[in-house]
């Protein structure tokens, strides 16, 4: 792939094209992402492609700090958003770039979109979040696993035995009731994913189905990427607005 970014050049990138492909699987917790990533990885490897899978918060640079901040709830919304962006930048440059240079397929279990949605529902402005992540590569394909909140809830409880504090957005004080907070939080995230879906060219896949049905549809989207002379699956055209956007939230409200 040609390393196109969302508007901001990445300094220090080795010149020339990167050989591999970047495939992103997005979706809420419980949408079946991890299952699909595992299926797809297996299938691609059987086809003879080298696959490197990557997720959020797996970098060695700041994951410790993120865990500590989550325990203490000590950092402001802007600070947290920047810390996540630093972590993502580390993965992009120290994991994704080398893998693509080596010609591998990078299978990303979530990408900047989840990070942006989380920052925005916590008070960042859309414009600030979008431009913060403008250094990220445009993927060859973004699949969004779209599942109803009831399905998410069912799978989340099946997985953890209860609801996760963070995936329920309890830090946002939307409701003291975990159950209600989960629905309110997922609703807010879904609203953010909706506009991103248009602007960033997501391929929506109905994830209210069995894993094998979801997988079949995802394969059909992935397959053309490996055919010679293919066209790019995703061609986002993002407006470059004038002026400096405010990050929003408490820091800029005065």
């Amino acid at each position: 792939m040609t390393p196109n970014t969302y508007g901001t050049p990445l300094p220090g990138l080795p010149p020339g094209k990167l050989g591999g492909k970047l495939i992103v699987i997005e979706g809420a917790d419980g949408s079946g992402r991890s299952t699909e990533v595992a299926f797809l990885k297996e299938w691609l490897e059987v086809q003879g492609h080298a696959v490197v899978d990557t997720g959020l918060r797996r970098s060695t640079l700041v994951s410790e700090e993120i865990d500590r901040a989550k325990q203490g709830h000590t950092l402001g919304a802007t600070t947290m958003a920047l810390l996540y962006a630093a972590d993502f930048g580390d993965q992009l440059e120290n994991k994704i770039v080398p893998a693509l240079s080596a010609g591998s397929t990078v299978l990303a279990d979530r990408y900047i979109y989840t990070l942006m949605a989380r920052a925005i529902v916590r008070g960042a402005s859309r414009e600030w979040a979008r431009r913060l992540y403008a250094f990220a590569f445009v993927p060859d394909l973004v699949v969004f696993l779209d599942a109803r909140p009831e399905i998410l809830l069912h799978r989340a409880i099946g997985k953890y035995g209860s609801l996760d504090y963070w995936e329920s957005g309890m830090d946002l004080s939307l409701s003291r009731d975990l159950f209600e907070s989960f629905f309110l939080y997922q609703e807010k995230l879904a609203a953010e994913f909706e506009w991103m879906s248009r602007d960033y060219g997501f391929h929506l896949v109905d994830a209210n189905r069995r894993p094998d049905q979801v997988d079949a549809e995802v394969r059909a989207l992935v397959e053309p990427l490996y055919q010679p002379g293919r066209r790019r699956a995703t061609l986002p055209r993002l407006p470059r607005p004038s002026g400096t956007p405010s990050p929003g939230g408490p820091a800029a409200s005065g």
Partner: protein
């Protein structure tokens, strides 16, 4: 006068004075002297400098050790650090009506990140949460002078301060001069763009301090001192 008159620059009741310049430009000495004078005048003063918060400094140290830092992550980690410092150290006194004296502010990031090759517009977007100060002083000094001051005070030049990560030169002193030269060019550029108040920092300390006091006097005209606040109450 109503003590709640907000600043025309940023809208908070306090006032924000920023000191910027190369390492060894004398800005920290001058910031401390000005803060002392302001306090003696009866103003409520809060002085702060951009030294890394605990959370991020450990990360930066680890990143440096492993050689993992790139211009982008370096920039984002410093932004994280600054956001945290802003939330804790700058915003509360600014809202409480203090004169906040900042030794380094977002301009330091604009200059340093641009010198490392980051897109200047991207960096400005990231720092858009930082309000415009009432005054930003830029302490202008030749790079050679800062190097002499450093050598004279036997301070060690650190790896990143010398921009050694950019591979400008294998020699620490040579790299330092080149990198600081880049920073200086960026400072000169943004001093115009951001209408900073340029201070010729090759002059004696007393002369510079007198000039700073002249500069802040009009900004503080009618700004409440501790005493006036107590009478108002």
């Amino acid at each position: 006068m109503n003590p709640e008159v907000p600043s025309p620059k940023h809208g908070y009741p306090g006032r924000l004075f920023v000191f910027e310049g190369l390492d060894g430009s004398g800005k920290s000495t001058q910031a401390a002297l000005l803060a002392k004078w302001l306090a003696a005048q009866g103003y409520r003063v809060f002085q702060t400098e951009w030294n890394s918060s605990e959370l991020v400094s450990s990360t930066i140290r680890r990143g440096k050790k492993k050689g993992l830092l790139t211009p982008t992550t370096f920039s984002l980690l410093h932004a994280t650090d600054f956001a945290d410092r802003f939330d804790r150290k700058i915003l509360p006194p600014l809202r409480a009506g203090y004169v906040v004296v900042c030794d380094r502010y977002s301009f330091t990031a604009f200059v340093r990140d641009a010198a490392r090759g980051c897109d200047p517009e991207w960096v400005r977007t990231i720092y858009s949460f930082a309000p415009t100060p009432d005054v930003a002083f830029y302490f202008r000094v030749p790079v050679r002078v800062t190097l002499q001051r450093k050598i004279a005070s036997r301070l060690k030049i650190n790896y990143y301060e010398a921009g050694m990560d950019l591979g400008l030169s294998d020699d620490l002193h040579d790299s330092y001069e080149r990198f600081q030269g880049r920073l200086k060019r960026e400072y000169e550029r943004i001093a115009v763009q951001d209408r900073m108040t340029v201070i010729d920092s090759t002059r004696p300390v007393e002369k510079i301090q007198a000039e700073l006091r002249e500069n802040v006097r009009p900004i503080l005209a009618g700004f409440p001192t501790m005493e006036s606040l107590m009478h108002d109450a």
